[in-house]
């Protein structure tokens, strides 16, 4: 469900599913956790291919942020209409930086 690309010290993780809902959130969390445990600390989560996230998907993203700990960094790129609205509605846009593009997220993270 995920594909990845390393750019310098930033790992870009792209979600290849249209929906990150209760049926997918556990697998998403496992696959993200595996990457975090492998030592990646700066991640951009590319949600540009995702059309829908529910509270369990959002909860899994929050779990990843906690797992990363204080020295880690997790930015969101490409969240569209309903996905970006979920971040706003839950006030998680105060916690995660939302970027329109992966490039913008990587640039901000590298600076």
């Amino acid at each position: 469900m995920l594909s990845e690309e390393q750019r310098n010290d930033v790992l870009i993780v792209r979600v290849d599913e249209k929906r990150v809902d209760a049926s997918r959130a556990p697998l998403f969390k496992d696959e993200m956790t595996r990457r975090i445990e492998a030592g990646h600390t700066r991640l951009v989560l590319d949600l540009s291919g995702v059309e829908f996230v529910d509270s369990s998907g959002l909860g899994a993203i929050v779990a990843c942020l906690k797992r990363l700990g204080p020295r880690g960094d997790l930015a969101i790129a490409g969240a569209k209409g309903p996905v970006s609205r979920l971040f706003t509605l839950t006030r998680m846009d105060k916690v995660f930086r939302l970027h329109d593009t992966v490039e913008a997220a990587v640039a901000q993270m590298s600076s």
Partner: protein, 146 residues
């Protein structure tokens, strides 16, 4: 005058997306994208809750959704035959999601579903009758401009 239909799935998270797509299609001509998104997230949260909490994740139980379309509103009722939600849970659920964003460890990983429903729909009401629970959610259709 209203027209309505009922949709049913088994208590299986894999099937919730089918419900969401079907209900969204019924809303598509009546609501703008933002309002249709609001209905979709509310429906999914409500159905997830029935599967996870009501049926405790057990498969093979029925989750019903009744959709009725009125001139001025869409009414979505999620119907189950599980043990009911404890009384007051809906009204006690925050109607806003509050946390200290500077304290990462305190951020919620769950417990946002009912609040999302309350924020997204115009009316929300829960009725537990013997043998059947019903979460009734209403989204108003804006009057055509002009």
């Amino acid at each position: 005058m209203s027209v309505g239909m009922r949709l049913h799935i088994d208590s299986d998270f894999d099937k919730v997306a089918l419900l969401a797509r079907a209900v969204r299609a019924l809303c598509a001509e009546l609501l703008d994208a933002e309002a249709a998104d609001a209905v979709e997230i509310s429906l999914v949260e409500a159905v997830n809750n029935v599967i996870e909490h009501g049926y405790e994740g057990k498969p093979g139980r029925d989750v019903g959704v009744e959709v009725s379309v009125h001139p001025d509103r869409i009414v979505i009722e999620v119907v189950d035959q599980a043990a009911p939600m404890k009384s007051g849970a809906l009204s006690e659920a925050a109607s806003e999601i509050v946390f200290d964003e500077t304290n990462i460890d305190s951020l919620p990983e769950g417990g946002m579903g009912l609040a999302l429903i309350r924020m997204s729909m115009d009316e929300v009401e829960y009725c537990a009758a013997p043998g059947e629970n019903r979460l009734r959610m209403v989204k108003r259709i804006p009057a055509p401009a002009g």
